[in-house]
Structure formats: C-alpha cells, structure tokens
Amino acid sequence: MTARRSGSRLEGEIERCRGENQWEKIPELVKQLAAKPLQNGEIRGLYTIKLRVTELRGLYTRKSCLLCTVRALRSGAHAHCCTATTFKVELTVRTDTANRQELAKYTEQNTVIIYPNSNNIVFIHNDMNYILCIIVNAQYLYSCLCFCSNLTRGVGRFREILRAIETRTTQNLRMTIARQLAEILLRGMCEQSYWSPLEDPPPQSPLDDPHCPTSSSRDYALSRRPRVYSGENLFCPQENTEEALLLLLISESMANRDAVLSRIPEHSADRVISLQSASVVYDLLTIALGRRGQYEMLSECLERAMKFAFEEFHLWYQLALSLMAAGKSARAVKVLKECIRLKPDDPTLPLLAVKLCIGNLHWLEEGEQFGKMVVEMEDKASEFRAKGFLAIGLVYSLKATDASLRGVQEEYQRKALGAFQRAQSLSPTDHLAAFYLALQLAVSRQIPEALGYVRQALQLQGDDVHSLHLLALLLSAQKHYHDALNIIEMALSEYPENFMLLFTKVKLETLCRGPEEALLTCKHMLQIWKSCYNLTNPSDSGRGSSLLDRAIADRRQLNTMTLPDFSDPETGSVHATSIAASRVEQALSEVASSLQSSAPKQGPLHPWMTLAQIWLHAGAAELVSPLSHNVLFMKGQEAKRWYEEALSISPTHVKSMQRMGLILHQLQRYSLAEKVLRDAVQVSSTAHSVWNSLGEVLQAQGNHAAATECFLTALELEASSPVLPFTVIPRTL
C-alpha cells in the first residue's frame, strides 16, 4: 500500500514537473518510480501517465480514444506507455540509435501531428476505432524523423497530413505544419531534388542520410486512411517554390486571421506570440517570392500584415522594400517615412527614400530633406555619409537643370559641386563620387577639370558605362571628335546594346564620317531594338496587380523621361536631318513596317520610348509619341504655330524658344524676338546657338555693342560644347 501510494506520489511529482517543463528532473523520478514494486498488470519500468482527457477531447471526440502517452525525455530515460483499456503499446525510447530508429519506424505507421499546445508531437493512429496518441518531446522526435529516418519521408508524412481534409480541431496544427513544410522546402530542397506531392518520392534522394539505413517498412497498410482533398482540377504544385508558396499562403491566411489586434496590456504577450508566428510566415513568403521576382504580389501580401504591424519596424521596412522593388515608388516613400520614424538612426532608410525621390518620382524637395537627414547623422552614418552627400549633390544638380532662372541655376550648381566634392573626399575610392563630380564640372563647362575626375572614376571602375560616355562627350566638347568616337566604340564593345552610346555614336559619325555611316548605325539600332525587345516581350507577363498603379507609374515615367535632343545644334543641319529622315524611312522601310505591325501589341514602355527616340531622330516620331514637345519641335520647323504649341506644352524648351525667336526675327518683330531669346538664355545659359541668335537680333536692332557681347559668348560656349548635352547622362543613386 505504501509503495503504491509513493508510486502515485511520484507520478504526481512527474506530472508536476511536466507541467512546469522541468524535464531534467523527470528521469530521476522515473528511475525511482521504476524501482517500486509493481502492481498487477503493470510492466516493470513503465511509467504511466494519464493524459489530460480534455486535451484529447479537443482533438478527437470519440469515446474510444483512449490513450497512452510516451514521454520521450530529453535525457532519454526509460519511458513507456501502457494502456488504459484495450490497446497496449510497448515502446522503449532510449538515446541510442537503434531504438530511435525503432521509434522512427513506429512513426512510419502512424500519422504524425504536431500538437501545438504542449510543444509536442502527437501520433494519431487512425487504423481502427481507437486513436492512439503518443506525445513525445518534439525536438527529440523531430530529430528522429529527420536524422534517423530521412527527410524524404518526413516531407511525405507532412504532406499526407496536410492533404487530409481540414477539420476545426486540426486548424492550428495545419498552420504549423504548413509553415514547417514550407520551411523545409525552402531551406533544404532545390528544384532538382523536388518531387510533386502526388508523385512517389525518388528512390534515392540526396536529402537522405546515406549512413542511416532506410527501413524498408514502406508496405504498411492502413485500413482507414484520412479523407483527402479531391476533385476535378485540383491544383497540385509542380515545383519547389510553388508548393512552398501555396503552403505559405494557406498559413498566411490563418496567421493573419489569428493575429491579436488588441493593444491592452493583458494581451500583449499574446500579441507578441501571434506577431512572431505571422512574421515568420511573411519572412518565408518574402524568401519564396523574392526568388521568383514576384515583388508586386509580395507587396500585396505584406500589406495585409499591416493591420497588426503597428510600431513593428521589420514589417514596415519589408513593406517599404517590397513596394520599392515592385516599382510603387510614391507609396514606398511614404512607408519609408514611417520606417525612419521608427528607426531614426539607420542611414539606409533615408538613402533609399532619396533614391526613389530622384528617380521616377522627381520629388526633389523631399529628396533634399532625406539627403540632409543622412548627412546630419554624422558618425552614425559612417560609410553612408559619403553616399548622403552624393545624394544631396544629385538633388541639387537636378534642381539646377529644372531651374528656369540663371541665378537659381548657378546657385544649385555651386551647391551640387560642393556636395560632390565632400562625397569624393569622404570616399575617394568610390567611382560614383568622382564621376558625378566630373559630370557636374562638365555641365558648368569646366572641361579640363571634368576630364581629370572622369579619368579618376575610370581608374576606379574601368567599365562603367556612364563614365565612358561622359569621357566621350568631354572629348567632343574639346572638338576631339575622332578620339571621342574611339572611346564610344570601345565602350560599345563592352555595352553593345546601349542605346545612349549608340545615339552619341550617330552624332559623332555625322561629324566625322558623314551621314551615310550614321545611317548605318541607325539601322543597327533598329535591329538591336527589334531583337532585344521582341525577345523580352513575352517575359513581361508579370502579374499586374494593380492596373491603376501601373497606369500611374507609366504616365509618371513618361513625364520624367528626358528625351535627349537629337537635332543638331547647328541651324543648318536641320535640313540635313529631314533629308536623313526621308532616307532613313526609305532604307529602313522593311524594318519599320515589321515594327509597325507589332506596334499595337501592348509592350513595356521602355522599348517604345526607345523606339520613339529612334524615330524622333528620323523625324517620324509623332506616330509613336504625339504629345512630346520634342516632336512638336521637329514639326515646328515649318510653322510658328507649332512652336507656340510646343512652348505651351513645355514652356522652358530652349530649342523651341530659339526657333521661335528666329521666326519672329524673320517676321521683323525684333523686340518680341529679343524677349523670347533672352528668356531662352535665362533658361539655358550654355546654349551657344541661342546666344548667337540673340546676337543677330540685337544686330538687326542696331545694338551692336550688345550683339558683339553675345557673339563672343556664343563663340566661347561653342568651344566647349559637346555633341550632346551632358545632361543626357542619367543621374541616379
């Protein structure tokens, strides 16, 4: 009697330890219990645990589910289960491998379910009318499953569970298992080792440990299999990422649903737990979708997480990044602002924001603010400080280009130059700093200095396309056209499909080798366009999540895309261009017509803009892009009306202003002509042809002294003018 009592006392003690998760104490208690004399029907060394019936009721409501449990302890003491009513399982679990394999074998014959309540795995044996649940320590058993048996089988088991039709009681389990399977698929499998859920696993898999003999007990048969999802047209993943994604979407929908929203203190622990489990799912989704480049879908998923992401930096940051990667710049900047609020010390955040601001958005004011944030971080920003100065410099540089008043322009140019110099001194090994410094110097026509810095940039990064381009333009400004052409050709050998280089080449060729060669290059460009973009068109079938977003983005792109001016600065060559236009049309009628036929096909914007540029050069661009002021400018060679329209679209288009002035001059309306030209000079103080025209007008008015000044300025400027404006080189972070 006393023995029995002490036995039950020990049992109670074990129960308590189990409840308090003090696993290390249990083996000792079990040993003591095992030493007790046994009652009838008990087996020596067995330890009986009555499972809390309520736990199981939750799991299965059948009355017959009686159960025995095996606690496989971390330390690996003897643990047995014994029966309550009819069923008897004897299982010895020890640490040695032989027995672990035995356990693994046992797991083979049963459905495994991870029981979320107690950090344990439940085996549900659904063979007969009873269900056997064995709860063992999860980590331990899991290692059994994955080390001893093999991953292939583990994956198969998980899939089996997941294919079983969901019931209310298994929801939580499903979520956990779905996530775990996705984790395994993403971490431990690859496309080649993948097999679809409805296929048989490969006989030999690299996932299996070759040292562990695979038990050949695959021929077990369960009389009652769980009901599985079935029906017509069931989606069955055929690929690693597909399956992971499907599983993650399922667990996301659950995690999202179960996320605790309330902020009251009593629920804060719950909230943290639910947030963690949800954010693991979102992280895995990010990994899966990132691999496949599906950033739009990712941004939508992450947006769903926002309702419980209050003050959670990681989720906000990931959302911002995904929006950025999906090209939703405006929203990305807004989300980044929130990120900056949450983590004001991180220099990457404002830098990302600047990158967006000076890109498509062209939000220069905001850009400046973000840039200043980085610079003001001082030491905290360390390596990013140089980048901050670079960003600010770029903002000023772009502002200078936009400014319509000369004074403002010069002010910004000065500021930009200062910022680039700071950047360059802070990070002398960064080719970008040297390059932008050179570009800024070039824009303000300090050609020799610019050459020095561009050479420095090229020493740091020999095959940077923009540096090479700038070098060529600088050489052309010094009228070394042949050298410039050599540089361009060299650059083209590294970047054979770069349209910007090709445009410059066309310009230089017309100057050095005459229009025939230039025309050949044009033809070459059209061919490249065709081969490149016809090829990429089908791949552009990415999921357009939001048509509205896309339309807005497109329009914005259209607005900010700077079409370089390709008509020649010399007035005389206008004629040549139009001749060239007709020739091009003639020579390339085949190519053009084939392009035309594909025109209605909705393609990505970029190639169409490129095509527009090519046609613009050939003087036929209105077919493609009727609203561009450049096009109207081309047309307007004949009529003043067109210039007026061109100016109404783009009031600061210098070329149009200049032509307008010329026409007014010819109409003998000198004072108006002078006004227009002076405005043009204000807008672009380096356009030598405008100065020249202004001089002519002044001359006609009899103002010889001022005219001389103008001509001198024009001469001086012409001496440093490149074949294309330096600003054709994109300025981005």
């Binding site: 991870i114 990132g290 691999r291 090994t429 590294e494 970047y495 990415g542």
Partner: protein, 534 residues
Amino acid sequence: MLAMDQGVVEEWLSEFKTLPETAISSYASSLKEKASLVPAVYKVIRENYSDLLEPVCHQLFEFYRSGEPRLQRFTLQFLPELVWSYLSVSAGRDPHCSGCIEALLLGIYNLEIVDKDGQSRILTFTVPSLSKPSVYHEPSAIGSMALTEGALANHGLSRVVYSGPHLQRETFTAQNRFEVLTFLLLCYNAALSYVTSSSLQSLCQLSSRVCICGYPRQQMRRYKGINSRMMVTSEFLVQLITGIHFALCNGETELGSKALDDVLYRAQLELYPEALLVGNAIKSTLKGAALKSNKEGTRSIQVEITPTASRISRNAVTSLSIRGHRWKRHDAVDLGSPDELMEISEVDEGICTQPGAQGNSPPTIVVSNATAVSTKSVGKGLRRLGGSRSSKDKDKDKDKEKDKEKEGGAEQLSRKQSGSRAMSENLELLSLKRLTLTSSQSVPKGGTLSLSRTASAVFSRSFEQVSNALAAAAGTQQQQQLQQPQPPNHHISRENRYSACSLQEEHLSPTPHHHHHQQQQRSPSISLHLAPDV
C-alpha cells in the same frame, strides 16, 4: 600544387577520354569514390596559372555536355569557384588568363538557355491562388477574402516567367556579364541539394568577396587579394542569397552567416531593395532559430516548432474575432455550431455565382426562406401575401404570374429543406427577442444594409429577415404588428420574392415592382452624391 594532386587530376583527365559511350553511367556513379579528386580540381582552378587549367576546364565542359545528370552536377559544384576565379581575374584586368574559364562558363550558359529541341528555355512557375482548390486546401475553408483589385487580378492561377528567354552569348562583356552569371547561379541553385559542402563553402566565400572587395569592410574580414570594387546587380545578389540560405541551413552556419552579412552590407550600400528584402527575411527567420551546428550530420534541416495559436487566450481581439463582433452587434445571432455557418456560406456561394444578384437583393434570403417556412404559419402567411400582391398588380401580367410560380417553387423547395434542416432553437429564441424591434426600424435598416456588400452585412440582414419573418408569422400575437401591420408584411413579401428569383435560374431578368420602389427610395441620396461633381 603537390605532385600527388597533379597525378590525380591527370589520371582523371586521361581516364574520361578513353571512356566508351556506354560506360558513362557507371563512370558517373564511380566518381563519388574518388575522394582526392575534388580538392585537387579546386586547387587547379584556384591556381590561375596552372597548365592543367585548360584541360580541366575542357573536361568539365565535356561532363556538362554529356547530359548525364551526375556528371553535370560534378561540374556544377565547381561553379562558385569558377565564377570567383573569373571575376577576380577580370577585375585585375588581365583578360587572357581567364580565357578557358570564361569559355567554360559561357559554354554552360549556352547549353542551359536552350531546351532539348534547341528552343529558348523559358523558366516559368505557377503562382498558386487560394481561390482555386488545391491538394492542400479548399477555398471555402479559408474564409472570405477581401475583394480587392489585387485579389481579383490574382483570381485563378497565373503562370509567370521568372527567367528567360536568354540570348546566346559568344563573349563576356560588361553589359552581359552579370546577366550570364545570374543565370548560371540560378542553375546552380536548382541543384543545391546535390552539391558538396566544399562547394557551399566556396559559394559563401565568393559571396563575401564579391561584396566586400574594395570596401572598408574588407579589412575587417582580413581578406587580401583583389582590392578593387566589383560591380554587382541586385538579381545577382538575390541568387547568391538563395545559395547562402541553403548553406546556412545545411551545415555551413558560420561561413553562411558571414556571407549573408556581407551581401546585406553591400546591398545597403548599393541601395538594392530586392536583395535587402530577401536578405532581411532570411536573417529574421534565422534569428529565432538559433542555428546550432549539429554534429550528427552536416545535412540536416532543423525545424523549429513554435506552437502559437492555441497559446493565445481566447478573449484577445483578433482579426477573426473582430469579424465576429460586428456580426453579433448587427443581429445578435449566435449560430450554434460553425458547421451551420459553413452550410450557410456554401449556399450563399452557390447563389452568388448567379448573375441575378440584383444589387440589393442578396442571396442569403435562402436562409430566411428555409427557416421561415419550417413553421407552417409562416408558409401560410407567405402564400397569403403573395396572393394579395399579385391581385394588386393584376394588370401586370406574365411577369407577375411567373413570380407567383416562383414563389410556389420556392415554397416547395423550402419545404424540402425544412425537413433536412431544422431551425435551431436559439434562432427561435432569438427571433422572439427581436420582436421588440419595431417594424419601422427594421425596414430602413434592411435597405441601408443592402447597400453595403460585406459578408457580415449580408448575413446580418438575412437573420434580420429570419426574425422578421417569424415576427410576421406570429403577428397575431404581437401588438406592434397589429398597430403597424403593413410595413413588415411589405418587407417579407419583398424579400421572399427576391429569394424566389434568385433560386430560379431561368428568371433572372424580371425586376419586381418593389425592387423599383426601393431603388427610387435610394435614388435621391445618389443624386446628392453626384451633385457636387456636376
């Protein structure tokens, strides 16, 4: 290089040359046993000036071209080392040395971009959607999803291209360099399970070096070699991260986490959102996992078990419970068991698919119909109401006749249903409770709710109708209804007729009189909204 290694490599070179076609398969399986071969080949690749480099590259290409998967994987395991060798040489601007490595890389690339028939290979995958049933789920079990533009666009499965088609490349240029290397890494990542751990180590080293060379961090890592910066692209970094992720989880914890840090460092400096996104996600999932370098086997996946849901206390407000809250407030119905809920939603869906949803007559009326008719008196009431209405609109003809027929049909149908699905007790109780509602209150409420299309509104309305129907049935006992008998009757008749309409597939078009009436009621508010715009 030791003479012994050289010997191993030379033997390997000559052995394959003399191999007959038929023996390739057995040769491929025997390669594994040559333990000293792989390190020796690594040495050859690392020593750029070795005489053996060219024949080794050639043989590796032959392996790849053979089409035998095991031989291809043998070549593939050296890919990170080859890529590093190529990049470091091209950064050092000494192009002639890396000629054979370049040729090997381009060779593999050109083989991989085409399929067996020589057509450009386009790598696609299907984006799964929860709105389509799969082997793992049923859309109805997932619950209602928000009807957003995105959700609509993603309705159904879409096939997406993630790589390809690619152009054949004869030479490396600055423009195509990373395009080619990114694709090669994609191929490597597709075979990650088969590569050796030394290959994974080499991948981690490649990642670290590419990302930090020429940056201040290089001193921290104490790597001396090239110190000029290498250009990278975001896609290339993402591919590197994918490989690193595998390495991290498969035994290369230390090197892997270093490499991940370095790639993230570079991605921050370059401001690449894609690489940052994936890298951050991996870092965050590993943070909790606390990777242990297990001694038992190098290849093991650890799965962290973080049970959650049931640990959360039941009274905490979740997205789900909030949905329930609104539900209760509107109609105070507690459906006995979720199974019933399921049934309703199924019925609901079945009817939703019919085009005759008619804006403001939600299909849920089926519920009201079925339950209402289960009490006989209601059924009678319905018939009576139907009769009175049709007599009122006598001059209105066939449409109405049909309506009547439909009502008959609906009744029959509902009788059938009433047997199978008994009204739950609490519903009855509830409806009694609801009788306190004045009829004048309930009518406009029904109208306003019909404007909103949320599921909860739909449900709540249907239950309101249930209660109303019951109220009407028990009308004789109710004072309120005696006082104002007309509005509730009106209400019921309308609702029941709608349900009849929606139940009969053939008659979707007829627009009942009262429907018009309701629209007229609403129209002033609509014009008010429009007014400022005009």
